[in-house]
């Protein structure tokens, strides 16, 4: 029966090829526009490390100006970064299963086998960075807490840096010069390009990851400033690097891994105790305002998914709605126009159900054709968007990965939408009394 309905549909399409093409195009364009915006939305909205949801946290404590909140638009937010003293203070807690403090720096890297001296970005971090964020290693591994304390002159290279310095060979145990000091390679990362760059959203959530990783304490020995944001509120006479470290300027980020709810509660208590203790020492002039964000909360706090992205997604779906209403109207007109034929079929014994299914098949065919055409158009659209984006973004696959999931979603939506769009016209035509159509108009 289905094959017969399909044949009838094809006949019907042949009667009005222009109109059929219009319906297919409407669905196809609606779907493809949705697909393109959905791709860029999903690229921005991905939550990293989903299996660690509820375990990784970012503490924020409010060390800011008594007269002004850190973010005037969102006065409830505490600063997203910490002072050196507070970063060390929070790092001293023994509650977390893992913990890290870090900042972004840079310097000239040279030496190695064939390294052309180059200014490289560096993540100055404590050793738990690697297990906490599950960085993939090509060779070797990270460093332990002892190396953090020393600090030992160890370095982890990105895959790309290792290629520049050692031609991609296993370089564990070899040395490089950074800031004119010798550092020993202990690990080389494999491709690792988290998007968004969730661990440093304050400096750009789609920035490239750093080129080398160095123990945090080297930052103080080499007297490195931040290559990212540094924010200060207090009038302080800063004459030396030590003054800077002791100032109220914020440029450090902390993360903790807390595996049980009990530890989360204990850590919250620790944050409160810490701030109250600091208040007794004359710091933290603002009211107690501590936050402990999980990854998803942290992404939301920093608005990693731009509002433009959401607005565009909504516009795209509104466009799809217009396309579907359009299709419903056209299908209705088309079916009603061909009502005499349905009338003849009813008179010859077809049931209402038969007529309904026949017309639903017809709209289903339109939907499938629209879905396939829309999917292809969408792929072309994503491709065009990537080409356009490629002018600004260094690593395109990270900022806007090819997302086959959206293709499936798009075709799925299209099928569902086409069938929904066909329901009313098909029902309407099935309900019509055959006799009236057998008569003249």
């Amino acid at each position: 029966m289905f094959a017969y309905y399909l044949r009838l549909s094809l006949q019907s399409f042949r009667r009005n090829p222009g109109l059929t093409a219009l319906m297919v195009m409407a669905i196809a364009l609606g779907i493809s526009v949705c697909m393109v915006t959905l791709t860029s939305y999903r690229a921005a909205a991905r939550i990293p490390l989903p299996h660690k949801a509820g375990m990784l946290f970012v503490p924020n404590i409010d060390s800011w100006d008594p007269d002004n909140s850190y973010d005037k638009d969102k006065p409830a937010n505490a600063p997203d970064l910490q002072t050196y003293r507070d970063a060390r203070g929070l790092f001293a807690s023994t509650i977390p299963d893992r913990k890290l403090i870090m900042f972004k720096a840079g310097g000239v890297l040279s030496g190695g086998l064939n390294m052309v001296p180059e200014y490289v970005s560096a993540r100055m971090t404590t050793g738990d960075f690697f297990p906490m964020f599950e960085t993939p290693f090509l060779y070797g591994g990270g460093w332990n807490a002892k190396a953090d304390e020393g600090p030992e002159p160890v370095v982890v290279l990105s895959k790309e840096t290792n290629e520049k310095a050692f031609g991609g060979a296993n370089s564990v145990g070899k040395t490089l010069l950074w800031h004119d000091r010798e550092f020993r390679v202990v690990g080389v990362l494999d491709d690792w390009e988290p998007a968004p760059k969730f661990f440093d959203v304050s400096n750009g959530s789609f920035d490239d990851p750093e080129e080398i990783y160095v123990p945090f304490s080297w930052g103080q020995i080499l007297e490195l400033g931040s290559d990212g944001n540094t924010n200060c509120w207090k009038t302080e006479d800063i004459k030396s690097y030590q003054d800077f470290l002791n100032s109220e300027c914020i440029w450090f980020e902390s993360w903790v891994e807390l595996r049980t709810p009990a530890k989360v509660a204990a850590y919250r208590q620790f944050l409160d105790d810490y701030v109250i203790d600091q208040k007794s020492k004359g710091r933290f002039p603002r009211p107690l305002n501590n936050h402990l964000y999980d990854i998803e909360g942290w992404m939301q706090r920093n608005q990693v998914v731009g509002t433009d992205n959401k607005a565009m997604l909504i516009m795209a779906f509104a466009f799809l709605a217009v396309c579907l209403v359009n299709t419903v109207g056209l299908l209705l007109a088309k079916f009603l126009n061909a009502a005499p034929i349905a009338g003849v079929r009813r008179a010859l014994g077809a049931s209402r159900r038969d007529i309904f299914l026949q017309h639903l098949t017809e709209s289903g065919v339109v939907a499938v054709a629209g879905g396939i055409a829309g999917g292809l158009l969408g792929v072309a659209g994503v491709w065009a968007l990537r080409a356009w984006y490629g002018r600004f973004v260094q690593d395109l696959d990270r900022a806007l990965p090819t997302d086959y999931g959206t293709f499936v979603i798009a075709v799925g939506i299209s099928l569902a939408a086409g069938i929904v769009a066909g329901l009313y016209p098909a029902w309407r035509i099935g309900r019509a009394a055959p006799a009236s159509y057998l008569k003249v108009q």
């Binding site: 509104a318 466009f319 217009v322 002018r391 108009q441």
Partner: protein
């Protein structure tokens, strides 16, 4: 001709009419808001940066060898760059305007953090900065080469003189906008700086910042080891000069790192890429919505005419003129469009209100709504015009013919 019978006839085939009305309502809501937001973004992208941003590029250099004379390197590099063919001027800078990266600080109109205060994006450069950036001095004068401070260590505080934008100066001295040159402002340590010159306009680092035009140029170089050079070329020679500068810098002194050369236009496009993407997406969606809505109205009107040939023939047979038939269909279309437009107005306002509430976009300008309503009315009539003409061609003889 009364509208009543047309309305009654419409109600007999309500579903089709309602679908067209819904489509028009949605179209109005989408198009009005999309055009409004697109216009805003295009204005933002197209505003004057105050600089000759088409003809400027930047190159970072870092000295890394121990005992490398940083200041000698800067002086020699700049002297060489300024002599190169196609180069108008070159200047050092800490950061690149419009790049999204920069430094800002706070200044006060009086000592001891009193008086007016404003944040400002600042660029440390030398006496060639003004010419290299291509900014216009509205008042006062540029600082001279003797004003430039060569700083060995990273200490706080600006040199005693600066060139600032009018927007910055007026924020500090709102009551005396005529005499901005020579005014003194203070940092949070009460260290004074005098305004040497006032730039008409210059954009700073962050294009999303509402104080983008509060900018300060300070005569300051250092400390090392890193610095950037800005190079302004004669129009049309950017690419050629970029290539020759890269070679020349590497050749002049191999004992330092020459980073990636990038045009200011590239930084600018990258900074505005979100806005361009929004504008492009919304324009495409607007165009498509309009095309499909008019095709939809056209298709439905055509079908209406086809299904009613006999009725039209009858009306013609009993005396209706061609004109009456055309106006009948136009009136019918007008009613449906009006219904859609009325619903659409409410929808458009709701969407606009929601967009501005939820996403902090500016509130929808009502002129856009008026324009959208007029446009859709016209579009509706235009789409129905050809089918109505076809209806008028139906012969009165159709009245007596069977299907």
């Amino acid at each position: 001709m009364g509208l009543r019978p047309i309305f009654s006839a419409l109600m007999r085939n309500g579903a089709g009419a309602i679908l067209v009305a819904i489509q028009i309502a949605l179209t109005l809501a989408i198009v009005v808001n999309a055009v409004f937001v697109t216009g805003q973004r295009l204005n933002k992208i197209g505003r004057d940066s105050g600089m000759d941003d088409q003809n400027i590029f930047a190159v970072p250099v870092t000295s890394f060898e121990k005992n490398h004379d940083f200041f000698a390197m800067v002086r020699n590099d700049l002297a060489m760059l300024r002599e190169m063919p196609g180069v108008i001027d070159a200047a050092p800078t800490t950061q690149i305007p419009l790049s999204g990266g920069g430094s800002s600080t706070q200044f006060y109109s009086l000592p001891d953090k009193k008086g007016e205060k404003t944040p400002v994006a600042y660029y440390n450069t030398d006496d060639h900065g003004v010419k290299t950036l291509g900014v216009k001095l509205a008042d006062g004068k540029n600082f001279s080469s003797t004003d430039v401070e060569y700083r060995e260590k990273d200490v706080q505080g600006m040199p005693g003189t600066a060139v600032v934008t009018r927007a910055f100066a007026e924020a500090l001295f709102p009551s005396d906008k005529e005499h901005l040159v020579g005014k003194t402002f203070y940092d949070d340590q009460s260290k004074p700086t005098v305004i040497a010159g006032v730039m008409e306009q210059m954009h700073g680092a962050w294009v999303g910042w509402d104080k983008l035009d509060r900018v300060l140029l300070a005569p300051l170089i250092g400390p090392g080891p890193g610095i950037r050079y800005l190079i302004r070329t004669e129009p049309g020679k950017l690419d050629a000069v970029m290539a020759s500068v890269e070679v020349a810098l590497r050749k002049r002194d191999p004992n330092r790192v020459v980073g990636k050369l990038r045009s200011m236009q590239n930084f600018k496009q990258s900074s505005y890429s979100g806005d361009s993407l929004m504008a492009v997406t919304l324009s495409v969606v607007t165009g498509l919505v309009l095309i499909f809505s008019s095709l939809g109205i056209f298709g439905l009107a055509t079908f209406n005419v086809n299904t009613r040939t006999r009725q039209i023939g009858t009306r013609r047979a009993v005396g209706a003129r061609k004109r009456d038939i055309v106006s009948y269909f136009m009136a019918e279309n007008w009613m449906v469009t009006t219904l859609g437009v009325v619903v659409g107005c409410g929808l458009a306002l709701a969407v606009g209100f929601w967009l501005s509430n939820e996403f902090g976009l500016p509130r929808l300008d009502l002129y856009f709504l008026v324009g959208g309503v007029a446009g859709l009315w016209a579009l509706g009539q235009l789409a129905a015009w050809q089918p109505a003409l076809r209806a008028a061609k139906v012969s009165p003889a159709m009245a007596t013919r069977s299907v």
